[in-house]
Symmetry: C2
Subunit: 144 residues, 2 copies
């Protein structure tokens, strides 16, 4: 048993950087891997952004199953922006652009279930990014 500690940390769970610095755009986000076992075909991770933080805008073949755990925020999912609250569920299908943002002036954290064996994320090209900015709702989201 690994106890839940204060401030969304867990006993014997490392509090890690989200990704290697400079490998992709992101801000004020951390990663804790809650389950990562040879015998489990998925991992369960907890990502948390500080107020104003955001995850990388990316897409990939593998699917995400997400449950919000802490705070409120928004996510981009393809051409749409969703408002999210604790315990809401988000399925991110294959090859769908997605990004999470802590837009409510508070920490925003979520569980993410993902296959243990998976492909690497892809970043948008300049043209793909321009196409996203051309959607007013998405532009307002990306502007932060």
């Amino acid at each position: 048993m690994r106890a839940f500690l204060d401030d969304f940390r867990w006993q014997d769970v490392a509090h890690r950087p989200y990704k290697d610095e400079g490998s992709a755009p992101f801000r004020a986000i951390s990663r804790q891997v809650l389950f990562e076992e040879q015998a489990l075909d998925c991992e369960l991770r907890y990502f948390e952004m500080a107020a104003g933080g955001y995850s990388t805008l990316e897409r990939h073949e593998h699917m995400h199953g997400v449950m919000i755990l802490r705070g409120h925020g928004h996510c981009l999912l393809g051409d749409f922006v969703r408002t999210l609250a604790p315990f809401d569920l988000v399925t991110i299908p294959a090859w769908t652009w997605h990004q999470f943002r802590a837009t409510a002036g508070e920490p925003f954290g979520f569980l993410c279930m993902v296959n243990r064996l998976r492909d690497r994320p892809q970043l948008p090209t300049e043209a793909e990014l321009a196409a996203l900015w051309a959607i007013p709702e998405v532009a307002a989201f990306l502007a932060g």
Copy 2:
């Protein structure tokens, strides 16, 4: 996006019986499958017991990754009993006897991540059950 509703229910998620009635011993427990996708190698389920409810005492080859989401309770894990609170993590290794009980006079609910392809649970024989009852801490747990 599937919104979280009142009382630990979710939009477009069926509230199901835990198992077929009479197939194994259990009490006052329900099952909601939050993620069950061909492209995800695990499922994420939410089980909830009413006060006094319990899951089946069982074991199997497949592993569970559990996070408590609602209320307080206890679980049996092999020869030990653990006290559990919201967001605590429990890893249930292969072939380990386990049971969850809502012992705090309140609903007790948890997430359980499990491989999509898995073996069927095994119930204890009379001899195996007697061996568990012979451990005082476990007997107090099983007595409810």
